[in-house]
Symmetry: D3
Subunit: 339 residues, 6 copies
């Protein structure tokens, strides 16, 4: 029976039991998906690729709000049950150390991670090309923009929820400034959130076709007895475009650039109308996994078709057992004569 570590109680976590016909994959969809539909707020045409955290008695989220001028900005959203959300009217305001407003022209795919009593917002922005932006808040009112951790080009960065060996630790994916037909996950560390180094390679696309073009994190990793549970996205290419599925891996607790286990199959792949049809068809893009320390339940928030926010469920025990059973190194396939 696998356990979450350092994981608080989240009694308000949204939840549905696994349906009978859920198939053999370890994630199942919320039956009333999508939870955020089109035109959810004045001036915003679509919300997707958004991250949520428990906050006070309910939840808070940093959401990618695609404005009616086509430009993505980051907004805060509030919810008591994790399913119904109120989007703030104006985007988050970032200030530098001197209190000057320095909002980027655009900011997309925000992740939100709590590390040692502070909250960190991490997104993709323009810094002479696609790059990682970061800000820090204690109260979700004042956000201090930090130094950019990297020179371009990079996307899909996410922090680990605690320091590892005394170091802030981040996953990211170097890229080009376009649609990027390649991409590996890297790990970097910092003593102070200003200077970054000790860069390590974590994972490349694999020979499993659902993730043979590029991969990227993902939700902030969840700490378990076995290691860091990472939900990430894997991308394959067809003659009619990319397909984004959700994958899973377990990283070493103390040296998280070491991949202990990696699931050969996707955990979820586009099949529903809200995943297959929209601004970018065929996208399931995980951005946040909230776990309840008491029950081991996990609610996974994912963007659907660059148009919606959707929700899927699993438990820490179920998803880890599935990953172990379908580990890259397992021998099942050979028994039936493949490879």
């Amino acid at each position: 029976m696998h356990q979450l570590l350092h994981c608080p109680s989240v009694p308000q976590l949204p939840w549905q039991e696994r349906p009978k016909d859920a198939g053999d994959l370890p994630l199942w969809r919320y039956e009333s998906n999508p939870i955020i539909g089109r035109n959810p707020q004045k001036g915003i045409t679509r919300i997707f690729n958004s991250a949520a955290l428990p906050w006070k008695d309910g939840f808070i989220a940093s959401v990618r709000g695609e404005r009616t001028n086509g430009v993505p900005l980051t907004y805060l959203a509030h919810s008591s049950d994790g399913i119904h959300w109120q989007i703030e009217e104006n985007p988050i305001v970032l200030k530098d150390k001197n209190g000057n407003i320095i909002n980027p022209r655009y900011a997309y795919d925000p992740r939100l991670v709590k590390v040692e009593d502070s909250f960190y917002l991490i997104w993709c922005q323009d810094f002479y090309g696609a790059s990682i932006g970061m800000a820090k808040t204690e109260d979700f009112v004042h956000f201090e923009k930090l130094e950019n951790p990297f020179i371009p080009f990079n996307r899909n960065a996410v922090l680990f929820p605690r320091k590892i060996n005394g170091m802030y630790t981040m996953l990211s994916r170097p890229s080009d400034s376009g649609h990027t037909p390649f991409g590996d996950i890297f790990l970097s560390q910092s003593p102070d959130m200003e200077f970054w180094g000790r860069h390590r390679h974590v994972m490349s696309p694999s020979g499993n076709w659902w993730e043979n073009v590029k991969i990227g994190s993902g939700a902030a990793p969840l700490e378990t007895d076995l290691g860091w549970l990472l939900f990430y996205h894997g991308v394959t290419g067809t003659c009619n475009g990319f397909i984004y599925s959700i994958g899973g891996a377990i990283l070493d607790r103390d040296e998280p650039s070491r991949v202990l286990h990696r699931c050969k199959t996707f955990l979820l792949t586009p099949e529903k109308e809200y995943e297959e049809r929209g601004f970018v068809p065929n996208v399931c893009f995980p951005c946040a996994a909230i776990a309840d320390g008491d029950t081991g339940r996990i609610a996974l928030y994912y963007g659907a078709a660059d148009s919606y926010v959707a929700l899927a469920f699993t438990t820490v025990d179920e998803v880890i057992n599935y990953i172990l059973a379908n580990d890259e190194t397992s021998e099942t396939d050979r028994e039936i004569g493949i490879r």
Copy 2:
């Protein structure tokens, strides 16, 4: 209260009042869209990207009929209410000055404009590459093919409905002969519909992402007290293809290459199944705007997903006020700390 100028009464104009839940954009969809479905006529698999005009007591339209051999040709269609259409069985026949038939091998995205008691058909054809073709008719029976106004490569040309400073005036979009990942709107003038010059640049793609790849007109401009109201298409690119939305701008009445106002947001973007799914997913492509001089009502015909004809409504006052409120030069965004 903004006014249409030189605009006749069109009491038969199709119309639906704005629904309560229409959101904050100034266009709203006809509730029984699409108005022309699949396989509408023997040998025609799809009709879309088509232009309509008031004609006698009803309406007449030039439609893009995609034949079952995949080749697009231009057909006439007739309607009494602007919603239910009868497609002619054979495509329009073009003749030169001597009465010889000289139909192009293909012709697509036809616009239809009345200028000074004559009707002009303008389309895209092959003239050693994608180019503009033009024809003139008085009676919709005899069509005289005119000189091609330009050398290749060009698409999406439309005439202004009257001479400006004594000159026929046309908007068009230079392109390449493929899928064209760029494109600006230009204006050209002619004293006689044979020789064209005084080319001016009108608009480029903007920093508003919904139109950052290419733009093109669109419906023939409507004259208002404020200037020429132009509905055009703006295109953005994703890893899974282009997205075509509808934009709006106001051009100077006497010097229409001057853009007086340009809306930062789209006026309509693909959200409905008939816009997101079809031969080319995610396309809203405006081709004709009919206005009623008495009421200021506007019916906008647009192609959907290269598969259907759809209809949207607005009023001249509502759409102009929206454009002014969201003008490129307005200061709203800065107040909330963006840029």
Copy 3:
């Protein structure tokens, strides 16, 4: 009245009469399409592009099973009515002459053809690039992998159901190893299924836009009094990807690289949700045509959107008459002033 030649009785053939509103194309869809939906078997996410044959009292099929690791393998499936299918749990096992298992790492788009009392499985695999793989079976238990007929790059090979002039005869489509924006159908012959030669060109993409990018067979040809009836796929390109439609041609019985008739229009094109939405939107991909010698009925199995198996019907007389009426060489278009 056109006749099938050398065609056995297949009383169990699935069938529905042509519906009233089927339009003017000669194929009509099974009303309960798709016949194989998502996640049809443990570990398989999608089945599509699959071929069926009459077998004993029912049917047997070689299906493309896209596993949850994204890799396609070939499975057998069984059915009594040709509509409801049981998929085997494990993929087909191939052996060489010495009985060693030599399954390829992946195998997709399998065709299945009976030639002179043996059954041949033909698929696409990796042989230092996309290439044709072949195997032979008498009993669907033991499959002997044959020599690869060609060096790379090739896809979409299918055998004729009998020797022609004493030679095994195959259609295939040379390609590159990517998404291949070109492609013609070629014919090759072999005295012994090991050495291949007498290569002939059969058909190129045509000026009919629905098939102007590439073409490929398709279902194994059906022999008729007029010639070999070939259902093939034709592909066109849009700014948002490829569109796969079904075309038809008649090849000379004795010299089948000669195209006697070729239909200018598609016989079926993506219009239904299960064809327009899925892993690869807008795909109708014919893989097997089963005919009943008694009635002339034809059941055509085709892949839909790389996600489903679907079924369409026609009769030999109806489809041949349609092809003749829309033959490339007919004069219909010119009468109405086109070209």
Copy 4:
């Protein structure tokens, strides 16, 4: 014996007799090529792709001067013998009708043509993409910039040296804004040098491989009894870049979009070090042909490797006879069993 028409005496024309070992092509190189070397003037690194005209007792030229900042501008150059040139220190200054300086940011590949006592400068510039610019002068001191004849994208325009049927007549080559892997020559006419129309297609790349990628004029046509003699460039592609050779054609005198004769072979192709090595290796780019009405001698100025100006010679009789002997329509090749 072929004759030049309307051609003045140019006794100062540079000249060398055909050397014995000149091979079978009708052009031969000046033995002291290149005539303008590297760094010919302060601030100018290379001069090439330049046009010359007789002027007073000597010659005047508009030259492409590639400045040490990499930007090309147009300069005047003077010569008494057509071989040794003095380059002016500053680029040509263009003014609009009101005398305001309106020099383009860059201007390249200038041609210079005398039409009815005025001199016209025609070049390529930026007008929201590569476009044709024009200016007029009587005295080579005052240059009036004319309206741009076309919207983008276009390059390689050149005027005919007299009006044809009362119309100014121009050749040009529509293009894209990059390196343009395609290109045909078109003809356009104007009554007034402001409005352009009656666009006609002249020539496409041919099946002769030396010109199978794109073609473009070239030197202003020379009028002969047989028609307009056009020296143009033809381009082929290799895995290591483009190759520019010099071709020849004869256009109809009254209807110059009709090609009367076109030479299957190049007239000159890169073989010398100054043609094969430089800023763009393997370029022979003809820009001006000066003929002497008395002797029929022709001096052809061509750019070499985008680094030098070079000179070649022929006579009107010799080059026309060669073109006729190697006309596209001649039967020589068939006699030896080719095609």
Copy 5:
């Protein structure tokens, strides 16, 4: 001391001793290279990529003649010393079995191999794409065109000089129809020169950068006691184009798809002006290796810069020893700390 097998005496073989300053590579250049210069024959601008054989007291060659219309055809050439060549005036005439002339529109990179008293010409031609063409002659007067061995796309085919295990054996390189940024060598066999099969993969590009883009044979293999000695070309890519070098390998005598030894380094790479400058800069392209059975001397004919024919020398002992010393599997690099 390594020996040639089945190798006749060729006392007339051209030869120069290894110069002192030849460096450490086993091939050295003929000091008067190139042996065939520009414009070697009326109507032919360049000769390169050509193959030679001993014939009577001298030599005969099939040469690629690039005509002044840019189209390559195959000519015969004669020489008494292997250095000075007379090119025939007209290209080779091919006939089918019935004596009809069926010359291809173009034919390039011809190889010439003697197998069991017949001579085979093998080249690249258009068969709906780049493909292998073959012909047979006994007397170099009558050439019978054989069946095309493969469907497209393929280049660089060459026969082994004797049957192996009773089978005609050929090397070739599958490709695309363009400049082909990939390419492996394959082996195929035929009992009768009409039907081909038993296709085997031989070699891929290696991690040695000089051959990391594509490889292709090459000269017909020479039989030695150690195995078949193959001179092939290896290609690398730079930002300014491809570089073609000459490589060497030893193939198993009885099962020649097995590579016994393969040299990590090139044997010759472009360094001389006639190799670095020309129609395609930076090309050394081996096409024929003639060996003298008495002395073990080898004369290697190679194309230079797609503009010239050049000659290099070695001995069978010297080149094999070098290959063995630099074998892929040798350990030298590791000793000095690399990898």
Copy 6:
């Protein structure tokens, strides 16, 4: 009179006076260039893109040695006069902190910089893509490999020769992993050579065409009274490939991401045969500038055509005066009517 700061005496500096015909650019070439030719050492085919430093009484260099297997490695070279060099037989051996050998598979374009009594080697290597590698030595015998400063993709990194505001400071150029048709120079800082941050943008390609594709440093900056003198490379693109020229800029001494002056023109561009012809034609690639504190003389080592090492000279006063005279912000061009 501009001065070098913190610059030691280098009496052994190679030197030639400026020739009379050197033109108006501030750099002049060594008359016996190239100083390192082809095949300079056993197993090495070309040496280029190499950096030198004064060392003891002579010089030491880190050179890019392109081995005969095509793979680049870094070697040391020694010279007493800076012109004649002895290349070491084996590549540099790198060790980690524990003394284990960890040489990269390849390493190219090494720079060598002395910072505070240690020597740093900086090169490009594979770290899941093109990345910066670094090593430190005190004695040129033991090299300790340091942490990689960045995640991919990056090239052309160089250190400043002293800490700035207590921080190690580096210039680099983010890139893709291919031929990279874009590229800006960035600055990063580190307190400890392990963690890097405070990334700043320095320069983009400019509108001066010789550097409009990408730029990259270059030689380690030289400190002067005016600021840091940076020799960098600027690249432009032609239809036949890239052109690499040498540019110059002055960066602020205390805040070196501020560009104080930037020269509009190149300082040197490919013109000589050893620059225009070779493995990559048209490359001048500066890698090291050695200055003599006594005289202000500068010797600039640059790679030529990816085939040779060449040398150019200037003085600090001459080059700075030229940069100031041709500063981006100067008004010269406007005076002559440009822009």
